[in-house]
């Protein structure tokens, strides 16, 4: 546990007034290890520790806290601030329906999350159409169809159409039927795959989505920044959804993705069922990352 580790490192400082450079150096080593163990990206950790170091040196240690606790408090505040404010609302369109595009690496949880979002929107009194734009993965269309049926949500899939056309048609249908949202489930893809990244650009140009959300597996390690940066460059993300937070991963990918895209993390996937979606809590995530 970080606070205890820091306290051991800084225990000789009991009763001191201010944190010296040397105190802070010792503490920063522990912080750095904790963040790396939490899977925060190497470079992001470097920048973060430098920022915290700046804030911590010369800081007055509050009477009620030990030096270790004082440092943890600064780190926690800094981490929470970086995580952003709580922003779990989906942007609407001035001319509904608003398209919400879900993108990300293979297996991150897009299809499941698409349905969770539809359920979430319904609870807020909004009607969403679920569109199956993954024509590649065996059974992907059927997967979205089964999940949609399980919550009685409207579902659209194109017959032998390419993903861009499916998305266009879904938007047309949603407009005719008066839906507020269209949720586009796209195929998992590698950011290295130029053709597939071009497909995303085409879809975006065709539907002008109100939201382009990157779905990220919370267990992702150092690679999180690479994918996030590439998807952001290609699509222009408006937000992130972090999935599988019901596991025991520390989830440092959250900080990595946030720093490299600047996008809000809007929701957290916390289970396999279609109601397992929560608003993302920045402060809770900060505590989780620090361990």
């Amino acid at each position: 546990h970080l606070a205890e580790k820091l306290q051991k490192t800084l225990r000789y400082l009991r009763g001191k007034g201010k944190l010296s450079e040397k105190d802070v150096d010792l503490a920063m080593r522990e912080i750095r290890l904790a963040l790396l163990e939490a899977d925060v990206n190497f470079k992001v950790v470097k920048d973060f520790v430098a920022a915290v170091r700046e804030r911590a040196v010369g800081k007055e240690v509050l009477h009620s806290l030990t030096p270790g606790q004082q440092v943890v408090k600064i780190v926690h505040q800094e981490l929470t601030a970086l995580m952003g404010r709580e922003q779990s609302r989906l942007l609407a369109s001035t001319a509904p329906p608003a398209a919400v595009m879900l993108v990300g690496l293979q297996g991150s949880g897009k299809t499941t999350t698409a349905v969770k979002l539809a359920v979430h929107l319904q609870r807020g009194g909004r009607r969403a159409l679920l569109a199956a734009a993954d024509i590649y993965r065996p059974g992907a269309i059927r997967q979205l169809e089964v999940l949609s049926e399980s919550v009685k949500m409207p579902f659209y899939s194109g017959a032998n159409a390419r993903p861009v056309e499916i998305c266009r048609q879904a938007l047309k249908l949603a407009s005719r039927e008066g839906y507020d949202y269209v949720i586009l489930d796209t195929a998992g893809r590698l950011h290295l795959d130029e053709a597939m990244m071009d497909e995303l650009k085409e879809i975006k140009a065709a539907v002008k989505p109100a939201e382009a959300l990157l779905v990220v597996d919370a267990m992702t390690g150092q690679d999180a920044v690479n994918a996030a940066a590439a998807f952001h460059r290609a699509v222009g993300l408006t937000g992130v959804i972090l999935t599988k937070l019901d596991g025991d991963t520390r989830g440092g990918a959250a900080l990595s993705v946030r720093s490299v895209t600047g996008c809000p993390i809007k929701f957290a996937g916390v289970g396999e069922k279609v109601d397992a979606l929560e608003p993302f809590h920045p402060e809770r995530m900060a505590s989780r990352i620090l361990g």
């Binding site: 991150s108 999940l147 267990m219 019901d246 025991d248």
Partner: protein
Amino acid sequence: QLFRDGEIDDAFFETLEEALITGDVGVGAALQLVEQLRREAGRLRTRRREAARELLVVKITALLENPPAETLPAAKPLVILLVGVNGSGKTTTAAKLAYRYRRDGRRVMLVAGDTFRAAAIDQLQVWADRAGVELIRQQPGSDPSAVFFDALNAARARSADVIIGDTAGRLHTKTNLMEELKKINRVIGRALPGAPHQVLLVIDATTGHNGINQASRFNEAVPITGLILTKLDGTARGGIVVGVQDILKIPVCYVGIGEKIDDLEPFDAAAFARALLG
């Protein structure tokens, strides 16, 4: 340019640590490996970076080198079970393995052990058809243990050489799901003593430190005989398999390098170690 030849100094060891950490080897393993390298390089009095780098490649290769192939007679039928967390690539890998064995002239059957997730059976059916192997399946929602029990009896009756079982993705923190896995393992053993002969943990190459927890907890539930590292065709280097060796000596058997049915390769420890260091 990480290892451009030159003097060995602190900066050099730091760049090594960075390479290992960014490759997801894990902080503990990275620091340990570099510490050992410092001592060894010191003992060998090597002053060139290139030589030190080569030492590290050799070390990592040795950590990951698979034990020599077993000389026991192959089990017949050979039963392989794929397990792992959600989305790691189990279903796709089951199909790839089936295809590989079939190409080797074996009589293969796939078992649809994921009776829970939406369209999981449909997904595996498409793959089984592509692989040209039969899929043993029951209704979605059936008890996976029952599916495996019946499947093993059916497969034996049809003289299958290799039976590959797909299971539902599950987080190792979910006790009930880990209990379900234990039961599947027990029931398979009852249907065919000695089975499953291989239990392969499928790990996504993008996984960070959590991969170590996964290996440890899955192994507590059912002894894991091998790892399969998937999605190595991405930018992630999959170093977590090195981190896993720190706590459990589980060989990496295959790597997944794409989404097509033949995108599976036997694990090459030396090539992997070299790629890991960039």
